[in-house]
Amino acid sequence: MFIAVRDLRFARGRFALLGTVIALMTLMVILLTGLTAGLGAASVSAVAELPVDAISFQRPTDGQQVSFATSSLPAEAVATVAAQPGVTAAWPLGASTTRLQADGRAATVALLGGDPALYPALREGQAPAGAEVALTADLAETQSVSVGDTVSVGGQQVTVTAIVATTSFNHLPVVYTPIDTWQRLARTEGITAVAATRDDGVNAAADPAGLTTLSRDEAFTAVGGYASEQGSLNLMRGLLLAVSALVVGAFFTVWTMQRGTDLAVVRALGGSRGYLLRDALAQAGIVLLVGAAVGAGAAAGLGAVAARVVPFVLDTTTVAVPLAAMLAVGALGAAFSVRRVSTVDPLTALGAAR
């Protein structure tokens, strides 16, 4: 790194500019990753928290997607699913959107009906039965509702008997209630889907007539807008990473061309191709590491603030993975560019050859 370090010192303005660009790109990729995870959680965390392996929906008509919003099954579907090979337990699941009012305050909520075995961790109170509901912790806090209070859900009075861990469904806070109460509040005799635990994998080909079974994680796509939302955000992340590789590659391409005579002189002095390549890669590595580390630090700080006001997940995964991806694509761009240092002809160091 003899030349690399001295070049960094000598052309610090140029390298600082590149480092800043890398830092900003890293910042954007990490913030976008945190936002993607946050929005994803706001969309499907209620599904992700279900302690089941598979969810069976009404089979959609041709050209339609499986959806919680459009799936409607008869209550007997639970017995049909339970009778399938490999299924160890099955529960009815209801999902609808309604309105909750409490002491003059109102909120649009997702109403999930089902057995208490499907609810998130109980924080306070006891599982609801009959005309009772469990509120997620965030919803209870924003609505200033406590266990024992009476609230209006879908225009009917119900008692809050439990506060459970916070989940979201389709970006809405969740109210959990037994399936019969859900049917009453949703004014239906049917159910939305059947949740099941299995001791084998999901086999779509073995689905009973009229049903489509997805694994729990596949069922995320049945939540309205989840797939397109995640797809858009992931496309933006991918484009940012591609642009990062191009920016780093373009910089080192120009930089390598600018120092062509210097490289030829080093070759003429006896420096090997491998030496020049290692030196150039080390230089790119230093700029990438410093830029990405600064960007990651800034993203962690901004993310911590952002998480208070927008759906944002700040954890090891949402920082380390995009940081590693950034370093990988940056290294790829740099390697592609600096590889030409190994083709420098030492002859060009001689005057007549220039």
């Binding site: 003899f2 000598f10 002189v265 420096g271 160091a349 005057g351």
Partner: protein
């Protein structure tokens, strides 16, 4: 014999034919001898340096440097030979822009894997030798043309070469500085002793060389055809 070129032929592609850069060139230079090579542009002077410096392999003929047959070496062997046996002084010094005068010399030691401490002592000694001890931390743009060329010369000496190859060392210097640089090269050649080949267009410094070789059309002219005022020499001026 430090440098011996025997029947060396070198051609370059030139469109759909090949241009003869060196044709049956023979040259011998011993330690302690400064040989000036002159001739018009395109006469093969730089090609001679390229072959003698193991920068390129001749099409035929042999090149021996301190008993090593350069033509038999592969790429890595030629790289090592340049590090260990050959010093280059380039036109306009060709110093690396980001390196201080001291670092230009330390780079040579670094390439050879020498220890930093002993290399630094030697580098500072060499800079002192050419009057640049006080400018060790200056970068090329902070030095004058003559100073840059002197740094280039001691950089070439840093690896303790047996052969010194010098490419147009005075092309960017006025007469006074040019003469000082060639005098320095002569003195160093005699002191070390080195086998030095200096390519130059500048006939006014030929009297400082121990021997002058003229080139024309890729060939070394017989001594009888050359004098500093001969047509071959004057066309190169």
């Amino acid at each position: 014999m430090t440098l011996a070129l025997t029947d060396v032929r070198l051609t370059y592609p030139d469109g759909d034919r090949r241009l003869v850069a060196l044709d049956a060139v023979n040259l011998r230079v011993t330690g302690g001898e400064l040989v000036a090579v002159t001739g018009p542009s395109g006469s093969g002077k730089s090609s001679l340096l390229a072959v003698a410096g193991a920068l390129t392999r001749p099409e035929s003929g042999t090149v021996r440097i301190a008993d090593t047959d350069v033509t038999a070496l592969d790429q890595k062997g030629r790289d090592r030979l340049r590090r260990e046996r050959i010093g280059f002084v380039f036109q306009q010094a060709n110093l690396l822009a980001s390196l201080t005068a001291l670092d230009q010399l330390l780079l040579v030691a670094h390439l050879s894997g020498a220890s930093r401490r002993s290399a630094e002592a030697r580098a500072r000694g060499l800079l002192d030798r050419v009057g640049l001890g006080g400018k060790a931390d200056k970068r090329p743009h902070q030095l004058s043309g003559g100073e840059r060329q002197r740094v280039g010369i001691v950089r070439a000496l840093m690896g303790n070469p047996a052969l010194l190859l010098v490419d147009e060392p005075t092309s960017a210097l006025d007469h006074e500085r040019g003469e000082a640089v060639v005098t320095l090269l002569r003195d160093i050649t005699h002191e070390q002793p080195l086998a030095t080949v200096m390519v130059t267009h500048d006939l006014q410094y030929l009297h400082l060389a121990d021997r002058t070789v003229a080139m024309r059309d890729g060939r070394v002219c017989p001594p009888a055809e050359f004098s500093p005022r001969s047509p071959a020499a004057v066309r190169g001026h």
